[in-house]
Amino acid sequence: MKKWNLVIDVAACTNCNNCAVATQDEFAGNSFPGYSGPGAPDVRTLDVDRHVRGEGAMVDVHYVPRMCNHCDDAPCMKVGGDAISKRDDGIVIIDPEKGKGRHDLVDACPYGAIKWNDAEQLPQNWIFDAHLIDQGWTEPRAAHVCPTRALRALKLEDAEMSALAQAEGLAVLKPELNTGPRVYYRNLGPALSQFIGGNVTADGGNVEGADVRLLRDGKEIAATETDAFGDFRFDQVANGSAGYSLHAKRDGQGAGQVDIEGAVETSRVVTVVLN
């Protein structure tokens, strides 16, 4: 049995919001019996989270579109009763009739993906545009309008999807909950971790091509070289991890070392002076 999955490439998301607004357009003033009641201008069943890292002039931003994960072991279904059902193709639907007034369902989702439509008194999720899929659409509107194709809808056997997730290094949100999300992410790592980066200088100038090593508890764990601006960056440092130090050197310009104080709760940007 092939089922629907969504694969989101965080590196290709530019926060254009086409996915969110196309989804709102689909339900604005439209009711699809058995699938969904009308939406509302302030209800975004598909939203985009921003993750900002860094300080000074070394910063980066990652955008993570979030929506109903269509979990295979959906926590919402445990409390939803007959208001929530999972289709054979993997899509989770909140019944717009039976769900009426069920504000409790909003809290049932550990991902915050069920939104409350106050005007309609309805809990609403992103339904993968199941009503369109059933008419022959091959992707939901959110994927259709993405200018960088950061969203891909895939109808695959579960085994095929697992293999793909393995091959492409895909991740899911909050894997520790074991909810079996059907929404996967590429390049999610940077959004959920920190970096240690900075600048190598000598005699007041940037040092290009300096050899920079990241050590943890005195043991080298990564190495890189500074760019033309003397900048370097070690990505995907686990949140809250500690014990790091940086060693930099360049032939003829000396060496330098900086210890990263404390736990890395936010990304660190340091200057390493060679002498």
Binding site: C16, N17, Q24, A28, D42
Partner: protein, 1006 residues
């Protein structure tokens, strides 16, 4: 013989119409919507017949009628036969009309009705759109953010979607670069504001009925002082049109020519027929109502500054982009984005088309640098080195880069020698030999905040790698730093940087993968700047192709004066102003000062407002309140789609419909004129039949119909319409273009779009400036400059006096030699409102940058209770209100006790605006980043007349001063403000509560 034939044809008309009634429901509807006696004859009465249309019945008799409503007289039978042919030559028809070979006299209403009836015999049979299996009908429209399929069911829009190209649409181009092959997605990528179209149509802010301000009595007390305060009452269209038409006549008789002033924004909904340069210009010309003179708002620094160094006046000083996408992919090592955020501005009109291509640049390993006070959307997407420059100081950075190049020999000496003049003087200035100040990296650090060492690194990289300079949103200029006190300096330096690096050599050009797509740009379809149906041949680019290709009645305004947009409030309140013109025909056109009013013409006494959100787009815009309330203004008419901005200041409101409620036609991203070949940003050239997808909501009408109705009351209806409704005009535009070589009219109407095939690789356009770099004649396909502006021979050299890039422009030496604010030698002069502004900078220490918005197209799609409001990077909700977002550096926020999403009052001596604050390290310290152009103006006034707005009108805060004397140029990005936490006392202001009630009352009325 001819007369006999004519008699037969005239006698047969009722029978033909009888058939039409049975086959053509639209004809039947039109027939029943009017009536009258129409008489057709030869001037000598040797042939005459009249027709009586009454209550849907048609009768006819030979001979003259005693009292025809409309009399149509042909010069002779030959003219009549040519005129009445089913596919008559439009050129002939216009010739007959203009030269009195056919004359139509009588009741204008009946004449317009009868013309429509005749046209409907054909147009009523046209099939539009495609029936879909799910029971919807698929129409097509075009927007400022790309084209859409519009799915309609039961007269209501269900959804709007981007257009996926069909298999039988032409194949896409492909580009080979560095061993890889690239092809664009076969979809027309749109912006989020395009996808908001349905929500805009059904917005609760729509104006659905004509309205009159309750205390406005055209025959008694007009109470101008209450504009923006008192409420409205619903009136009928007849009443509204009578009031407006009556006032037009009264104005002309009371004040003479020129007193009726048309005010409007710079943009309109996309469409060649309905655009302001089209229908509105035709209306204003026939009415004798002067239109505004804009400054080149988004081009400023390039027009008033950069062009003097190298020409391109017909592009308002912006470089072209031919062939640059492929050159960039194949040759370039690095792109320097300088005040450039194409992901936010979509280039200009290009939807999401450029994003995929910029990701190709990343994939190809091209390096990126971003010079901007904001780590902007493009920087966020591509990554790279960020140089957070202080607003308005960019020129110091540019000069320091040149200092490194000169001292380290990192520039193209051969190119400078061959292709430029004045370099020695420029070099002496940069090295400090001329003024004693060397423009070193250390010197600039004090100004810009960019460490000297980073400038040295950048200059060395740039001097040794093939670099594309992406200046402004298009990469070839547009927006950003060119709109500041130092805007001209900056744009001038952008040209000078390229002059030192061999502009035109492989891999060295302006761009950012947004423009220069390998399309076939040569097949002709007019852009909106070509004037559409205006008939005007002086105030748009219509004379180049449009007037020749689409014969139509020429129109010209006897009230020739133009009110300068940025000075409109001074004009109204003081009666006069002077300004410098926007005229790109030659570099020297901008030097002449123009006075308003023109001798013998009147100052404004009536404002005809078209569209209604200039509070969001005019500098220091609280000036507009005084303008609207000035006692010299007898009437303010607002013709608008939505209740927004300045609609609340009108005496009479005329409700217009959106573009999906009326027919129109346009090319995606096609503006032409000063943005020649602007569509070279899209992946597939596409022309769209903009269907009338649904009936106009409420009693709203198309702009064209409103104009026609007003002019019909004044007897100009037939002249305005030429007997055509908008769909007839669409057909005339279609036929004027090269489209008939690609698709038939009936197929185009049905399908709704046509894709024009791209160039084959072997016929692609040569790369911009390659000819110049390699010393050949000009070979890029643009009619620029004017032939007379070449110096040594046709197509030889640039437009400048020397034909070369001039470090010290001869045009400035001739036209404006002693202007310290725009010196011939492009000195670094700090902004007149900036960190050097003494006490002002102490009181208002933050520099506000308000750039072109990302999620709305200027004001369009902002507000209006739609989903755009729910985008947190656009507006943030607090206490049920959607506040405009201002981005602030984390340190600046901490100093002020501000946290994410807090409400903050931004203020200076001009006004105060309440915003929601977005706190992050993504903005340089001391800078604030926001977007310009909100559509909302939601204000209170304190006892002293100070304005506090919570609509997000950032332009209430910006200075109205021109960038430099000798120019009329906006400088919103030189703006000092202070920020403090807002205590949220809004609801306590009684007057505001009342005006809030007023807005609600307007909607209850509907």
């Amino acid at each position: 013989m001819r007369k006999a034939k004519l008699k037969v044809i005239l006698a047969a008309l009722p029978r033909i119409m009888g058939v039409a009634r049975r086959m053509n429901p639209a004809f039947e509807r039109h027939l029943r919507s009017g009536g009258g006696v129409i008489q057709v004859r030869l001037k000598d009465n040797s042939v005459a017949r009249h027709y009586i249309f009454r209550d849907g019945a048609i009768s006819t008799s030979a001979g003259l009628h005693a009292q025809p409503d409309v009399d149509i007289a042909f010069h002779d039978a030959g003219v009549a036969l040519q005129f009445l042919k089913p596919d008559a030559d439009q050129g002939d028809i216009i010739h007959f009309i203009k030269n009195y070979l056919v004359e139509m006299n009588g009741d204008d209403t009946v004449a317009v009705w009868f013309s429509g009836l005749v046209n409907t015999m054909q147009s009523g049979m046209w099939k539009q759109g495609t029936k879909m299996p799910d029971g919807t009908h698929r129409f097509v429209t075009n927007t400022n953010g790309g084209p859409l399929f519009v799915y309609v069911k039961d007269g209501r829009i269900v959804r709007t979607c981007p257009i996926d190209l069909a298999e039988d649409d032409p194949e896409s181009w492909s580009v080979e670069a560095r061993g890889k092959s690239f092809k664009p997605y076969r979809q027309s990528m749109v912006n989020v504001h395009a996808l908001a179209t349905k929500s805009l149509v059904y917005s609760d802010r729509r104006l659905l009925y004509p309205m009159k301000r309750v205390d406005f009595d055209p025959n008694g007390e007009r109470n101008p002082q209450n504009r923006g305060k008192s409420g409205y009452e619903r009136i009928s269209w007849d009443e509204a049109l009578d009031i407006v038409a009556g006032e037009v006549t009264r104005q002309k008789q009371t004040y003479g020519p020129g007193s009726i002033t048309v005010l409007h924004g710079a943009h309109h909904q996309m469409g060649n027929v309905g655009y302001w340069l089209s229908s509105l210009m035709r209306f204003s010309n026939i009415l004798g109502a002067p239109m505004q003179m804009f400054s080149p708002i988004s081009w400023e620094g390039w027009y008033w500054g950069a062009m003097h160094h190298y020409g391109n006046s017909l592009r308002l000083g912006l470089p072209g982009a031919y062939g640059t996408m492929e050159d960039c992919m194949q040759e370039c090592d690095m792109i320097v984005f300088w005040s450039s955020d194409p992901e936010a501005t979509s280039g200009l009109y290009a939807g999401g088309e450029g994003s995929q291509r910029r990701l190709w640049a990343k994939e190809l390993g091209i390096q990126f640098v971003h010079i901007d006070p904001h780590f902007n959307s493009t920087a966020q997407m591509l990554g790279g080195k960020w140089l957070p420059v202080r607003p308005t100081t960019d020129s110091a950075l540019a000069q320091a880069i040149m200092h490194v190049w000169i001292t380290e020999g990192l520039y193209d000496k051969d190119f400078v020698e061959r292709c430029t003049t004045g370099f020695d003087e420029w070099k002496a200035y940069i090295l400090g030999e001329e003024d004693g100040v060397a423009k070193t990296p250390e010197w600039q650090e004090v100004e810009t905040g960019i460490p000297a060492k980073d400038v040295i690194s950048l200059a060395r990289l740039w001097g040794t790698k093939k670099t594309y300079l992406s200046a402004g949103g298009l990469g070839t200029g547009f927006g950003g730093a060119c709109r500041a006190a130092t805007g001209q300096q900056w744009a001038r330096n952008m040209i000078l940087l390229m002059a030192m690096q061999g502009w035109g050599k492989p891999g060295v050009n302006f761009g950012n993968m947004q423009c220069g797509v390998p399309l076939d740009l040569l097949p002709y379809f007019p852009g909106y700047a070509e004037g559409g149906i205006s008939g005007d041949v002086t105030k748009n680019a219509g004379f180049i192709n449009n007037y020749v290709r689409m014969p139509h009645v020429v129109t010209m305004n006897s009230a020739s004066q133009r009110i300068p947009r940025e000075r409109s409030s001074e004009v109204v309140t003081t009666g006069s102003a002077s300004y410098y013109a926007w005229d790109g025909s030659a570099m020297e056109q901008q030097f002449g000062e123009i006075s308003y009013p023109s001798p013998g013409q009147s100052r404004p006494h009536m404002i005809y407002q078209y569209g209604a959100s200039s509070f969001g787009t005019t500098m220091d815009s609280s000036r507009l309140i005084k303008m609207h309330r000035d006692p010299s203004i007898d009437m303010v008419v607002s013709q608008a789609i939505w209740q927004e901005g300045e609609t609340q200041f009108a005496d009479i409101i005329l409700p217009a419909c959106t573009v999906v409620e009326r027919p129109d036609i346009s090319e995606v991203c096609g503006c032409a004129g000063f943005a020649h070949h602007n569509q070279n940003q899209v992946n597939h050239r596409m022309v769209v039949m903009q269907h009338k997808c649904i009936e106009p909501l409420g009693e709203s009408k198309s702009d064209y119909r409103i104009f026609a109705d007003i002019l019909t009351r004044l007897g100009f209806g037939a002249m305005f319409t030429e007997g055509c409704d908008e769909l007839d005009w669409c057909k005339r535009v279609f036929e004027s273009s090269d489209l008939p070589s690609y698709i038939s009219w009936s197929e185009f109407l049905k399908k709704g779009y046509v894709v024009l095939p791209p160039q084959a690789p072997e016929t692609r356009d040569p790369v911009e400036m390659r000819w110049f770099y390699e010393g050949r004649k000009k070979e890029t396909p643009e009619p620029h400059p004017l032939p007379s502006d070449y110096k040594t021979g046709f197509l030889e050299g640039l437009q400048t006096q020397s034909g070369k890039i001039e470090f010290l422009p001869n045009s400035l030496k001739r036209g404006d030699p002693d202007n310290p604010e725009r010196p011939v030698l492009n000195r670094y002069v700090p902004a007149w409102e900036g960190r050097h502004s003494g006490d002002l900078a102490k009181a208002y220490p933050l520099q506000l940058v308000s750039s072109h918005p990302r999620y709305s197209f200027h004001t369009q799609a902002d507000g209006k209770s739609g989903p755009i409001n729910a985008i947190e990077d656009h507006r943030m909700r607090a206490d049920g209100h959607d506040y405009w977002v201002v981005r602030m550096n984390s340190e600046d926020a901490r100093e002020r006790g501000l946290a994410q999403r807090d409400l903050v009052k931004l203020y200076n001596e001009r006004a105060a605006v309440i915003c929601a604050v977005d706190v992050s390290p993504l903005v340089a310290r001391g800078s604030l980043k926001t977007f310009e152009s909100c559509a909302e103006f939601d204000f209170i006034e304190d006892a002293d007349g100070n304005i506090v707005d919570r609509g997000g009108c950032m332009n209430l805060l910006t200075p109205s001063r021109t960038q430099a004397k000798g120019t009329s140029s906006i400088a919103p990005n030189s703006c000092l403000v202070q920020a403090e936490k807002w205590s949220g006392l809004w609801g306590r202001n009684d007057e505001k509560m009342e005006s809030g009630d007023r807005r609600r009352r307007v909607h209850e009325l509907q």
